[in-house]
């Protein structure tokens, strides 16, 4: 991979991290309401995976989707404005944190019933084949979704119908407060792919290059051979399930241990060691991203609320 692409991946991860930190700050100030699920710690998954697809491919995610939207290129200010519930939000202030959609970038949303969007991804894969195209779908969900019926039903259909869908479980080891080991029989979940006769693989979700490479292979299989894949990407969220979760179900030691695997810190070390980026360049990038995030907040603050006339719009086409 050329160094420009490596730098871009780092930049995207840093943008997500700083964006989410700012979102947390704004939430604490009461600027953002509802549920707000941060992506901090998991940045390498969305960035590495989305780096492996084309612009005309599709991405769909759960309610922890700010990072995926940023990775497909949705403007940070439109996402922040959505979190603020403003008219300039990407979903016109009607979706909020859990329902970021960006049709222009083939980002099919933010869905907030665990597992509920997995059959949608399957349907997009069906449509791609129906129209004889060669696009693929990346479908992101958490470990909790692997216990739902629709996950299994979808993998069955994807395998049966040879759909170009890559199902990506971001295993952060907790479905809200319940550890995977307390929720799942057979917690080596990538093995479940065997039941549906499709490739299943374990991926280190703290290593953006490994994510990129393994998703890339799955994308090739999907695009050229119509073979779906199930990837278990092991990652960790450094914050609670949502902003209202103090995460008392796990120890500080565990979190500190995981923080040593911070995907941004480790990738930075690698880029420095390989002489791809200097400390000064990192400083510059930090400043540039800080400016983007600050501008996003300013834009969201200044934007008007959605007018009441919009209440009944968008119910029906």
């Amino acid at each position: 991979m050329d160094s420009e692409k490596l730098i871009e991946m780092y930049r995207q991860m840093l943008l997500i991290r700083r964006f989410e930190e700012k979102a947390a700050e704004m939430y604490m100030m009461g600027k953002i309401g509802g549920f707000c699920h941060l992506y901090i710690g998991q940045e390498a998954v969305a960035v590495g995976a989305i780096a492996a697809i084309r612009k005309d491919d599709y991405v769909i995610a759960s309610y922890r989707e700010h990072g995926h939207a940023l990775a497909v290129g949705t403007e940070p200010r439109r996402i922040m404005a959505e979190l603020f519930g403003k008219a300039t939000g990407i979903s016109r202030g009607k979706g909020g944190s859990m329902h970021i959609f960006d049709a222009e970038r083939n980002f099919l949303g933010g869905h907030a019933i665990v597992g509920g969007h997995i059959p949608l991804a399957t349907g997009v894969g069906f449509a791609i084949n129906y129209e004889g195209k060669d696009q693929v779908v990346l479908c992101f969900f958490g470990d909790g979704a692997v216990n739902t019926g629709v996950f299994h039903e979808s993998l069955n259909l994807a395998s049966l119908w040879k759909l170009p869908v890559i199902y990506i479980c971001e295993n952060n080891f907790y479905g809200m407060g319940t550890a995977v080991t307390r929720a799942m029989a057979g917690p080596e979940m990538y093995l479940k792919a065997k039941a549906y006769d499709i490739p299943g693989e374990l991926v280190d979700g703290m290593n953006v290059l490994e994510v990129w490479e393994k998703v890339g292979k799955a994308v090739e299989r999907a695009r050229h051979e119509k073979i779906p894949t199930f990837l278990e990407v092991r990652t960790y969220r450094f914050r609670g399930h949502s902003m209202s979760d103090p995460a008392l179900y796990r120890t500080k030691e565990e979190v500190n241990e995981q923080r040593k695997r911070d995907p941004i810190v480790t990738f930075k070390q690698k880029l420095i060691a390989e002489g791809i980026l200097s400390e000064e360049k990192f400083e510059e990038m930090e400043k540039e991203i800080k400016a983007i995030v600050d501008e996003a907040v300013e834009f969201a603050e200044k934007s008007p609320e959605p007018p009441e006339e919009w209440l009944y719009e968008d119910v029906y086409a």
Binding site: F101, L108, G116, P119, E153, A317
Partner: protein, 326 residues
């Protein structure tokens, strides 16, 4: 005009719309090789092939979601529920995905999709296979709900539903498939959201839909022998509801009976009654009567089943009650 069955009318609608638009496909359990559990899709596999007539495993939640996903990116799915009883399994996809994605995305996506299949009571199928769920769907903003009672309406409305850019719940009558009626020759559609006066009359308005239209017609004929002229309004589309046609009839007759096959408590008829009371209160000369299913799971035994669902005697009794005949 040719006389065909309700089943044939639906088949014609599907066939015509699939010929008209390559993006339309039919997906569901037994729709292809088996030719449809109720034979609505008879011959479609032969004409359109496996690409467009797709047999699924028994996996309602997933294939309903597949329909929504395909609709999001430009196809126009027709998803068949072998019966609407099985749509309960797919309710998350219908309510949380199909109905809401347009709104949640601020209008960025549309879901042009039909979910169709038989509903309502059938003979001796007992509680899990014999029920009317239309009130559930009508409750959800973002869905349209259509329930035709005769072949002509079934064909014209299904064609409109397929061309509509919204998710449409299209509930056919399980006991109506074999019923016959006149259907216009050639191409026609019936618009969604427009009611039909099935019978003109001046004494009392019966509002009935789906199979209950036929029951209302039978009752009206018998009442006519006693000199009572019934007007029958068939909403055809329950959501969006054509309030104007209903209210105009009510303002003319001043007396109302609402007949539905669903449960009485929380049933769709209660919504119609509410609209009439709110918007035409001064025109009503007697409390509105409702004839609906008894509030019990459907029993198997024939006599108990008959005691559960509306029948002609109950409709006639209700009409006489609003006319203060004792």
């Amino acid at each position: 005009m040719p006389v065909i069955t309700y089943r044939e009318a639906l088949n014609q609608a599907l066939r015509e719309e699939m010929r008209r638009d390559e993006r339309v496909f039919l997906m569901g359990e037994e729709v292809g090789l088996y030719q449809g559990a109720y034979k609505v899709s008879q011959g479609l596999l032969e004409e359109f092939g496996e690409k467009r007539v797709i047999d699924t495993p028994i996996t309602e939640e997933a294939f309903t979601g597949v329909g929504v996903g395909a609709a999001m990116v430009g196809l126009r799915p027709v998803i068949e529920m072998m019966t609407f009883n099985f749509s309960i399994v797919a309710m998350d996809q219908i309510v949380n995905s199909a109905a809401k994605i347009r709104y949640m995305s601020g209008g960025q996506f549309k879901i042009p999709m039909v979910i169709r299949g038989p509903g309502g009571a059938a003979h001796s199928l007992a509680a899990q296979h014999s029920q009317s769920l239309e009130a559930w769907f009508c409750y959800v903003p973002g869905l349209k709900v259509v329930m035709p009672g005769v072949p002509k309406d079934a064909k014209g409305l299904l064609k409109s539903a397929i061309r509509d850019d919204n998710p449409v719940i299209f509930i056919e009558g399980e006991l109506l498939y074999g019923t016959k009626g006149e259907v216009p020759e050639g191409e026609y559609t019936i618009p969604l959201g427009k009611a039909d006066i099935k019978r003109k009359g001046s004494d009392v308005t019966i509002i009935a839909y789906s199979k209950m239209v036929l029951l209302a017609m039978e009752a009206a004929e018998e009442l006519a022998k006693e000199g009572i002229e019934v007007e029958i309004v068939d909403p055809l589309t329950l959501k969006p509801l054509d309030e104007t046609t209903i209210l105009n009839s009510v303002r003319k007759t001043n007396r109302v009976v609402i007949v539905e096959e669903g449960w009485e408590f929380g049933g769709f008829g209660a919504q119609i009654a509410e609209i009439i009371y709110r918007k035409a209160f001064d025109y009503i000369d007697a409390p509105i009567e409702r004839v609906a299913a008894r509030n019990v799971p459907m029993p198997y035994a024939k006599n108990l089943e008959m005691a559960t669902i509306p029948n002609k005697a109950r409709v006639i009794e209700a009409v006489k009650k609003v006319l203060y005949f004792d």
